[in-house]
Amino acid sequence: MTTDSSTSPARALIELSQVHKHYGEGESEVRALDGIDLRIERGEFVAIMGSSGSGKSTCMNILGCLDRPTAGDYHLADVLVTELPGDGLTMLRRHYIGFVFQGFNLLARTSALENVELPLVYRRIPRAEREERALKALAMVGLEDRVDHAPSQLSGGQQQRVAIARALVTEPDILMADEPTGNLDSARTEEVMELLQQLNRERGITIVMVTHEPDVAAFARRNIVFRDGRILSDTVVGGGA
């Protein structure tokens, strides 16, 4: 699955070329990303690994169009992200990307259904269709019997599955997962990872996941290891677990 950017004629779903992200200036300059070249094709399941400070989260923010690189080009679905204005990044997030966070980041005191509907509200989907799609997404993660529960009434694994449903409800091309199992015990971890695997296999959703746990990364089909803002290794693994 690893590809060489120089030989492929068509653009991959995600293409980073010589992407830099620097913080600070002069003496105190920190190179969070120091010239990253990366291609991710449609349908891949990629785990980005590395110790803290390796640049993996920064890379994730840029891939998720939450942040802009200091230098270099980022193509997402044939769009040169680096040249878009601020609202353009929002539009890309709205239409191509679903997010799953470590802390679940659900709206408190809001039912699972309403949480999942939220991205559709910003896409101006009419109410009835919104509810239908949200229910479908919740069924996909196996929570059809928990739609009226608020996050505080759900277990950690269930909350993360609501978050995954929220990420999927817009039918995004890419699912960005930032330490999706960081707050879960091993049983829930397995539950969530198997769900992601299943979504990738059966629905062909491209998943980019950041983690620092090798056994979580083992669920992916490709592992990229970051160190000091550079890619240390990029290997295809079984991904079957």
Binding site: N61, L66, F99, L107, R109, L118, Y122
Partner: protein, 403 residues
Amino acid sequence: MIWATILMALREIRRNTLRSILTMLGVVIGVGAVIALVSVGRGATAKVTEDIGKLGKNLLTVTAGTFSRGGGGAGISSQPLRIDDANAIRREILGVDAVAAAAASSAQVVYGNSNQRTSITGSDNAFFEVRGYTLDKGRLFSRAETQSGSAACIIGATVRSNLFQKADPIGSTIRVGSIACQVVGLLVAKGQAGMGQDQDDLVVMPMRAVQRRITGNDNIQSIFVAAKEGEGTGVVAERLRGLLRQRRHRGAGLDDDFTIRDMAEIAETVTGASTALTALLGAIAAVSLVVGGIGIMNIMLVSVTERTREIGIRLAIGAFGSEVMLQFLLEAIVLSTMGGIIGICLGLVGSYFAANALTLPFVLAPDIVALAFVFSALVGVVFGYLPARKAANLDPIEALRHE
């Protein structure tokens, strides 16, 4: 989108009910105070206007002497008015409906065991017309009574209740000062005049009776002139003034030695003062509305900080900054508008009860209600802007990391 956002704002407000109510309270009190003060103020104005109207419509009152501004005026010992002056006015002035000359005094009136001191007015039937009194029972003075100055009297409602309680006074004989006098008529109660004086505390007798048997001279104290409807009282007053100056030989350079009071003019002055006072009170109350707005801004700023993560989530899943801004702005507007509506209701209820307690008419002021509503919404826009902009400008990465 706006509608969905308003629903979202309402849900947010319900989620923190106590805080929302406390936040609204400032606007509630501000709007309520404006509505209540302006309504009561307008009621007072209406009451004063009505009371002055009761004294007589288009009424001009001529009295001898002046209430001079300077110290010198009081010293002028002016000649009293005479019945001839009244006749001259009736004869010569255009635009006059009726003229009544009145000799005034006061005396003890006695009936049985009851007695009281009251004002005695000597005049003729024109007095009732000019001053707006109507007969409740009995009759007016007959021509013979007026001409001969016989001891007949027509009494006001207060005198009647003091002397006769509920009994029928017509035909009874009361003692007025030292003379016995038959009650021939009873007047319909007019109530209090603007300055709190009781207009029903009076006894009216034919002028000659009062002059001859009570005051002992043929002076008259006032001439009441009713201007014709549609004839400006100011114009008639000017004509009166010219005539009286001539009759009293006030050459050029001499000040008037008489006073013409124009009820319409007084009404205008008092109403004007009352309106100005109402505006002042309303303005003071409006300050509390601004304070209420600052309260909203304060809570919205706290709310933005509290909900930083939520804002981060919304931005990350595809909300524009402008959509987040709209959400917080609408929350502030919904809060302030709800406060405004509650304030309007409380203000109206409060002013209704206040009007009853102060025996003022309850005046609904739709313009002020509309203004208060618009103003309260505006408070939300103005004081919600800063917190909303703060929310919209958050960096999603930072906001998501916020604990």
